[in-house]
Symmetry: C2
Subunit: 412 residues, 2 copies
Amino acid sequence: MSDIQELKDQFDGYKALNLNLAMTRGQPADSNFDLSNDMFTMVTGEDTVTPSGIEIRNYPGGVAGLPEARELFGEMLGVKPEEMLLGTNASLMVMNQVLTWALLKGVNGSPRPWIQDNPKLMVTVPGYDRHFKLAQGLGFELVPVDMTPEGPDMEQVEKLAAEDASIKGIYFVPVYSNPTGDSISDENVRRMVSMKTAAPDFTILADNAYAVHHLDPNDKTVPLNFVRAAEEAGNPNRAILFGSTSKVTFASGGIGFMGTSVDNIAYFSKLFNLTTIGPNKVEQYRHVRFFQTIDGGIDGLMAQHAEIIKPKFDVVHKVLDAHLAGTGLATWSRPKGGYFISLDTAKPVASRVVELAKELGVALTPAGATYPGGVDPSNKNIRLAPTRPPVEEVEKAMEVVALCIKLASAEA
Amino acid sequence: MSDIQELKDQFDGYKALNLNLAMTRGQPADSNFDLSNDMFTMVTGEDTVTPSGIEIRNYPGGVAGLPEARELFGEMLGVKPEEMLLGTNASLMVMNQVLTWALLKGVNGSPRPWIQDNPKLMVTVPGYDRHFKLAQGLGFELVPVDMTPEGPDMEQVEKLAAEDASIKGIYFVPVYSNPTGDSISDENVRRMVSMKTAAPDFTILADNAYAVHHLDPNDKTVPLNFVRAAEEAGNPNRAILFGSTSKVTFASGGIGFMGTSVDNIAYFSKLFNLTTIGPNKVEQYRHVRFFQTIDGGIDGLMAQHAEIIKPKFDVVHKVLDAHLAGTGLATWSRPKGGYFISLDTAKPVASRVVELAKELGVALTPAGATYPGGVDPSNKNIRLAPTRPPVEEVEKAMEVVALCIKLASAEA
């Protein structure tokens, strides 16, 4: 019996199991959400005025959010309370607001609205499909740069930024990146905040979605802070950090925010204030009070999350090591945090792997999703999202993935 | 002693009282918010899956909102659940999203993005300052049309819409309008949804903020529904209704939404989905469960609100009638709902009245706020916002206002 026939027999064996497993998107498990269930009832009618004296049910309180909440979430982004602006439940929405106002008015200090310059944004590849879709939807042309183990490829970034004035910024995940899990090095932070840019209003849009999502609380990757580094480099308004509690408390009922220079906060507060009197203070105050009840605050909660998530990452690596190590058929990342593992097949078979896995009842992120337009030019990258299913299901799904990689590679 | 000297003596008498009263903005009172305090704890960790099967803590559930919440709030706007899209806590933000995407992409059926047409919007005057500021901030040129007791002056509206293709829509409050309290007539709804427009993508942006805010539950003003009327007129995509629970539950922790044709919902859902996976479902589900506990649901709660608010409107009218009726110095509106009473001085002294009242410790909405750019060309309109202070303070503040109108008119 040929190797490929043996693989096909195994494939048919799995087919008979009628699996129905999903590893498509970076969602927390219900057991992760359960850690924050106490938050639901943290604020009652007896308790609607914050220590800073703000009635959370009424309009006033400022467009940037409750002082107490700006302090709490400032901790997550490593910036001061006055450098924080809070938004809705989605950090993507906050990014959208910044990019939209940049198009229509410019950022703080822009000579004119970005829309007049046929603006482009650099994005890292492989990267986050929702970044690509938002920026392209708004009309930006995307300029891909490679993601490296030390963050965006700075040779490419520096060259492009220096040459092309229509490149208005770079939009990426600086820590435990989606999907590779790579984090930017201190040196690359320094280069990015101090590099020469043809656009005078070049802006670093760093989506720090996984800033506190370490797999091991004793092995945290915390690169140089972009806002501090930009200040030190004399370009204080160049960097904006984004974050949210979507994968800290509740994915739908969390809070998105941004951290940047006080001048930028003043600039965007004025514009955001045209669209809202202020974000939901009730939800903010629930978060504030909830974290006061947890040992170690945000870090304490994230250590509990890690206990749930790390075994899922471990089992992905266990299965890949067992089935594919030394075969030369694939390589994969070993992140220290975040929500994803990135796998590259040696042959251009990523889309075939996803297709085969689907036949066996295992849903994976569509091949190509990690590239602008949904097209991976080398058809090799697969994003593995192990956080939502239980460990046993992750293990079963990964056995299917390993088999499909072998079969697709043998076919090719 | 001259009349003016007598008024000045009265003025000095009030000065000695060192009043500190505010009737500046349309905010509910804490006693209004108290009616919804049970909502705080309506959802717990025991209860995170809705009847339609959606886990409220996780991402999935749709960009338009929970089915249960679309049904509930559809009731407020008089449209079907499938004609609803829910947003953040601010309806202003939902309007911003619609206007921004209209600029960058166009509305459903637009030949091109609005931004390419130097777009204009009609607004009613006197009107809502936040509408003016949002639209102007986004770059729209505002074209004022008069507000009448039957809504926007349709002679002006029809003429402008037919003549100028760069006029892309009309943005106004259809029911208990801010500040006059006027509501549009059925006949004017019909004219607006069926009129000829030079712009093929002319859009009615009807901010139905006070749709359910009747002062007397037995005397409700409910004009023809814009979405239904537009459908019947064969222009199903022309009208968008907006609303929120900011003045129903909590001003900061409520929910904003829009109601329009199913095709429009599909169009905007796709665009909104670029910026968020979906709005806060935890907050939505709190609202759904809360209203199930109230006799008469939304109507039942609004009847309780009316009991608090009507005496405040009554006392404004009582003081104005007592001090100014028959003097020829001012006229004022007698709304059947909403949050405001509009007063016009006979002489061009509105800004002087506001200034004098401030000297006596009574803060009023700045004169001119009800006109684009903050300039009332005839300097006559004053917006009275009696909902936030207790009745006794409203009465005292209105006595000050009446005196200041007399004094300013005598000075003039």
